[in-house]
Amino acid sequence: MRVDEHPILKFEKKNIIHFTFNGQDMIGYDGDTIAAALVDNGIMKFSQSVIHDRPRGFYCAIGNCGSCNMTVNDIKDVKTCMTLLEEGMKVENESQEVIIND
């Protein structure tokens, strides 16, 4: 859901960026953070609490809360609220698998 018209700000038409989220094709715009593009696409669940098994959403938008961490282009724990969207990005919810190395 984007702002159509704003009384103070001018949202210029930006280039479309194609990316995937959990394998699903999505679009965002140049200048979006990954998180902003996901919110625009109606994605509410950003991560999952491992201990409580509850969904977590976008909360602070500034890199403090850790709720928006996702795997991006196979790199884990990317703060999607602080990372700009790029063409062809592969964005996925983090796997809940806990690996213990003995």
């Binding site: 702002v3 704003h6 979006d32 409580h52 977590r56 938008a61």
Partner: protein
Amino acid sequence: MIEKDLVVIGGGPAGLSACKIAAEAGMKVAVFERSFALGGQLIKQTHKFFGSESQYAKVRGIEIAKILIKDLEGTDTEIFLNATVVGLYKDNIITVYQNGRYFKVKAKAIVIATGASEKFLAFENNDLPGIYGAGAVQTLMNIHGVLPGKEVVMVGSGNIGLIVSYQLIQAGVKVKALVEAAGKIGGYGVHASKLRRLGVPILTNTTVKRAIGKDKLEKIITVKLDQNWNEISGSEEEIACDALCISVGLSPLHQLLSMAEANMLYVNELGGLVPIKTCDYETSLKGVFAAGDVTGIEEASSAMVEGKIAGLMAAKHSGFIHPEYDKLENQLNNELCVLRQGPCGEKIRCGLKKVGELA
């Protein structure tokens, strides 16, 4: 290892102001900002600022950010974006993580201007998706043009809660109510008046008891509080909403200072843990100065003035005397006094007394 005269940590109003003054004094400056853009919280502030002309009163926050960034052009200030300072060490060395690279920087002086983060509120199901910090909603709306929801409830009547509610309406979102636990409105009356004439109910002595929804927010239950902050049973009311904004105060981002074992003090009026500093804005760590919200939660107008003072003092400490040192020292300290001397400044004055900064 990179070596600079001054390292400024944080590219918001305090940090940028410190860079400018220090560069004018002849220092080689580097500013480290963890986000992808300079400006801090200013870049999402669409409203006109208060204060006086020297703090850019009547100018919108987004424009003030552009002014402060432009001021760095032509100065010897190296800008590092997407650069998180991950460590602060006693020999004035910082460690930085930027785009997969980890490196060290040494400086004659450091200004910590890391700002603050939003506090959270405890209530049942407060982790449901659809519950946002008010600053996050501003980022979504004002930077990306993305709406957080169609019908919002705001929690907290401080300036941020009042301003963001108004900005939500400007973006075309319905604000169903603003809920405030205390018995009176915390922010400026003029901001509250704007909301009331737009038909937004301001419910004082009210808090959120529970959020309800399957996998995402669908409604909240509010409850009234008595004079002792206890819930009045039977006063529960339901409000349907698809987004809840939490604006219950800010807390200084003190972590680097705490890591380096600066003398800190927990002061409620200042928002949390703050460094003890001299009137020269130097912390107990030699050559490490601090300015802006990290030293106590206030307005951006104060952050800019504090940043300038810290830049001035960090320069003096390192042997660089600003050409207008005496005039600036006098003028800047006077500006802070004036900003804080009214009834709105009572809280900050009280907090500053506790850290031993005001007589």
